[in-house]
Symmetry: C2
Subunit: 355 residues, 2 copies
């Protein structure tokens, strides 16, 4: 099994080190290759996603990805900025299905900004479509407005679009995820305003016929944002488009108060996947050995489960993470009185030991 390791920028390399340590004690044979991505790749090769990195990623069964972005690269033109690497990988590898769990570990219930009774036991899975929508829709750019009340004025524009097969495949993925969980799926759209999402609603409703055991409901995106704040535990699996998914998955992650704990997976039709923490590259704390490596380690667990078909090993890693939480070990981001503050390295070591 070939694994591409893309540590990236900021805290990426240091949390990746911990995940690699964990990987190495599982007793499996993995062939790994480490390549730069994001700002690190720009620094080395002049592009955030150089051909050499893309090639390694394409040939791998799975990609373990750290995080990208650093203040240094903020003033580059957009096509060279670190986050373009993520968009490029998604597009080139057709990673259309993004799984973003929002789970609140009982030990960390206090970290949430929500009242304990609202969030304790939270366990939502957001399934976000990742290769379509207004993220990639052409045409887009700058022009003179061709019509409308401000005809002739300079304008920026983008195109939102979804074809039937794109909606169909993400709907199947989401219904199947719901079947393995609480059998409830909420499809989030804006069918009352957008043609794209009226079509989305129609197609999801049609795919539902193949999953009679799953309860489906449709919710407008503004209402979904409200319900996430009001009663998040009512959700089981949520499926939505790329743009709405970007916003809602981050809001859902933040409900837990411990985004340093949340992994994500982005899969294509061949189950090839990219696995990355839900948090960013946190350049302000990079190199200080204080970042939380658990989201990266849990991303490894997702990789074992989804792309490498090693569910038992995934269970082992997840159990080890739960064990260190139970032992009271906490990196600064999740520290509270009465627990033991540890560094990135110490946390990684503790997970290795728990294994």
């Amino acid at each position: 099994m070939k694994i591409a390791i893309l540590p990236g920028d900021g805290i990426g390399p240091e949390i990746m080190n911990q995940a690699v340590k964990v990987m190495n004690v599982l007793g499996e044979k993995f062939e790994t290759e480490t390549v730069p991505v994001g700002g690190a790749a720009y620094a080395a090769h002049g592009h955030p996603l150089p051909e050499s990195t893309l090639k390694v990623a394409k040939e791998a069964d799975a990609i373990l990805f750290g995080a990208v972005g650093d203040f240094k690269y903020d003033n580059l033109e957009r096509s060279l900025r670190p986050e373009q690497a993520i968009l490029g990988l998604r597009k080139h590898l057709s990673l259309f299905a993004n799984f973003r769990p929002a789970i609140l570990y009982p030990e960390l219930a206090g970290a949430s900004s929500l009242k304990p009774e609202i969030v304790s036991g939270l366990d939502i899975m957001i399934v976000r479509e990742l290769t379509g929508d207004i993220y990639f829709g052409q045409p887009r750019g700058m022009r003179e407005a061709p019509d409308g009340p401000f005809k002739g004025e300079r304008e920026g524009f983008d195109t939102m679009r979804y074809t039937e097969p794109e909606i169909r495949r993400i709907a199947h993925v989401a219904f199947q995820a719901a079947q393995k969980r609480g059998k409830r799926l909420t499809s989030v759209d804006k069918a009352n305003v957008l043609e794209t999402f009226q079509f989305w609603r129609d197609v999801v409703t049609d795919v539902h016929k193949e999953y009679p055991d799953v309860e489906l409901d449709h919710m407008y995106v503004d209402n979904a944002a409200m319900q996430l704040v009001r009663a998040p535990k009512k959700f089981d699996v949520v499926v939505t488009g790329n743009m709405f998914g970007d916003i809602l998955s981050d809001a859902a992650a933040m409900l837990t108060g411990s985004i340093g704990m949340l992994p994500s997976a982005s899969l294509n039709a061949k189950n090839q996947g990219l696995y990355e923490p839900s948090h960013g590259s946190a350049p302000d704390i990079a190199g200080k050995d204080m970042a939380n490596p658990l989201a990266q380690i849990l991303s490894l667990a997702m990789m074992l489960r989804y792309s490498l078909n090693k569910a038992e090993q995934a269970d082992r890693v997840e159990a080890a993470v739960k064990a260190v939480l139970k032992q009271g070990l906490r990196t600064p981001d999740i520290f509270e009185a009465g627990t033991t503050k540890v560094s990135t390295t110490q946390m990684g070591d503790a997970v290795v030991k728990a294994l």
Copy 2:
């Protein structure tokens, strides 16, 4: 001063009755005209926004709007559904500036799903652009995909677009609102992905030169959704586009836990405005005299302040609302142990009495 009264559907008429009662005891001379809108207008005239209603709205200095929508109309084709009336009024009257306060009244702190220390004293103003963006952008519809990996497949599509004058005028409105408040403005965009919002960022940055006393920061929409959950009190005024504003303003409103308290204003360049509660028509409790009329009454206050230039009267109405809260009067949506449960009518009467 001419006021168009559009009660609408669901709880609209009963909460409007209370606002009208309050209006009538202010000792001002208003010329009012009441016309149907939404489902009620569809039932009477076959269209949610009939010419006759639009005419009255256009000729008024201000529109006091209740709420639209009812289960009965859910299966109408989209162009006839009640919410089209709102979109039509916004467009026909060029109501481009939407003000949506998210205020947590100290007496209602317990209603929030967030911890008291996170939300107590919350006072955010969301300024949402309301006549542009993907809500109205042409072209839009269904077609065969003209290009891309799914060329030839059926697709739904919409166009996001903003011209420079549209961004400029809403930026001015937002900077001026910030000047009257805490002098901090957060502009929310997705400049890292969307051409429209890279342009948005550039134009807002340019307008900022005229408001050196206001501190401006730019935030990506996914991050804004997170920060609203994590530390909402860090925001003062937020300005954003129509689509992001729809999502974020509802999330912000729900942070307070008492959306039955929140008014909104939608203004055009002549300060003509539409004033409506932030909540919906709640058809499930319609006609039961149990809806909260305070958002409607506070919408009247906003109308007095913004369109009718009667700031003192607005202050009086707002003070009366605070007084009834202090007296412990609560409609069922905000009721908690130790307070007095009252009906819609009783709440309206109490505000009248407090005046």
